[in-house]
C-alpha cells in the first residue's frame, strides 16, 4: 500500500459525503485550518471515512480532538 505521506495519494477521495481529498486534508493541516469551510461535516455523515480521517489527521500532525 502507498503511504499517505506520498503526494500521489493527494487526489484520493477521502470523504465521499463532503468530497474531501487527502491532498485537501494535508493542506488544511499544514495551514492549521482544519476543517476548511464547507468540510465541517467530514467523517460525520456516512462515517465510513472516519477511521481514515483520524489516521490522516494524525499523520499530518493535527492533534486536536473534537
Amino acid at each position: 500500500m502507498s503511504d499517505v505521506a506520498d503526494p500521489p495519494l493527494d487526489t484520493l477521495l477521502l470523504c465521499y459525503c463532503t468530497n474531501l481529498t487527502v491532498g485537501e486534508l494535508r493542506e488544511a493541516c499544514r495551514a492549521r485550518r482544519w476543517p476548511p469551510a464547507g468540510k465541517e461535516q467530514t467523517g460525520k455523515l456516512c462515517t465510513g471515512c472516519l477511521g481514515d480521517l483520524r489516521y490522516c489527521l494524525e499523520r499530518f500532525g493535527h492533534h486536536a480532538r473534537d
Partner: protein
C-alpha cells in the same frame, strides 16, 4: 449537470457459482436514461488483497458481476464499486441494486440494495443519523438453516475492531471481529441458543463497514438471505 461530481463507494460480497447482476442506476425512464459518470470495480480477497480491478462502462444499465469475476479460487471476495455521479441522477438515496441467484438452485433469486458504504448520504436527504451501529430483526419463523454476518472494511489505512452481537430472547452472544483495510470476514451465528431462536443481530464498529446478514441452506450452503442491516438510531 453540475460541475461538482458526487462520490459513492458501494460494497458487496460475491461467491463462486452465482448469477450476480448489478443495476448501476435504478430508473424506469428509458427515454431519458441517465448514467453514472464513471465506475471502477475492484475485488478483494479475505485479507484485503486486490485480485481484480476494471473500469465498468457507465453506459451499461446492468453490470454482470458474476461474469466479470469468472471462475475464481477465492471462496468469497468483497467487491467495491467506486462511482462518480451527478446528484441529479439519484432522486432517492444513492444506491446500486443487485440480483443474486445460485446457478441451478430451486430457491428464489434474491434482490438487494448494494451497501452504500462511503457516501450516499448527502445532506439533501437528511440522512445524518449515526450509522456505524446497525441491527437486523429476523423473521419469527426460520427459513434459513445457517446464519452469519459478513463485514468488510473499505478503508485505505484504518483497521476496524467490530462487534457482532446475536440476541436470543433475553440472552446475547458477542463476537469480536478485526478487519484490516479492504479485508472481510464472515461471522457465523448460531440459529438458536438452548432452544431459543435467533431473533436479532447488531453490529457495532468505530466507523461504517460494509455489512450484510446472510442465511444459507445447511447442506448446499447456498444463500437464501442476503440483506443489509439497518441503522440503529432513528
Amino acid at each position: 449537470m453540475s460541475s461538482k461530481l458526487s462520490g459513492l463507494l458501494s460494497a458487496t460480497f460475491a461467491e463462486p457459482a452465482y448469477d450476480h447482476l448489478v443495476e448501476l442506476v435504478h430508473q424506469r425512464d428509458a427515454t431519458a436514461h441517465r448514467r453514472l459518470t464513471s465506475v471502477r470495480m475492484s475485488a478483494h480477497d479475505a485479507k484485503g488483497r486486490e485480485v481484480l480491478a476494471l473500469e465498468v462502462d457507465p453506459a451499461r444499465e446492468i453490470f454482470d458481476l458474476g461474469a466479470a469475476l469468472g471462475a475464481r479460487s477465492e471462496p468469497r471476495v468483497m467487491v467495491l464499486f467506486d462511482a462518480r455521479y451527478d446528484a441529479a441522477i439519484f432522486p432517492y438515496r444513492p444506491h446500486h441494486y443487485a440480483y443474486l441467484h445460485a446457478r441451478g438452485a430451486a430457491d428464489a433469486p434474491l434482490y438487494y440494495a448494494v451497501n452504500a458504504t462511503l457516501g450516499g448520504v448527502p445532506d439533501r436527504i437528511g440522512a445524518t443519523n449515526i450509522n456505524n451501529i446497525e441491527t437486523y430483526v429476523f423473521r419469527p419463523r426460520a427459513f434459513a438453516e445457517r446464519y452469519s454476518v459478513m463485514l468488510g472494511n473499505v478503508s485505505r489505512f484504518a483497521t476496524a475492531q467490530a462487534q457482532v452481537i446475536a440476541y436470543y430472547g433475553t440472552e446475547r452472544v458477542g463476537h469480536q471481529v478485526e478487519v484490516p483495510p479492504k479485508a472481510h470476514a464472515e461471522t457465523p451465528l448460531a440459529a438458536d441458543l438452548e432452544g431459543v431462536r435467533l431473533s436479532r443481530v447488531e453490529t457495532k464498529a468505530p466507523f461504517r463497514l460494509a455489512s450484510y446478514v446472510v442465511g444459507r441452506r445447511a447442506e448446499s450452503r447456498q444463500l437464501v438471505l442476503f440483506d443489509h442491516l439497518f441503522t440503529y438510531a432513528k
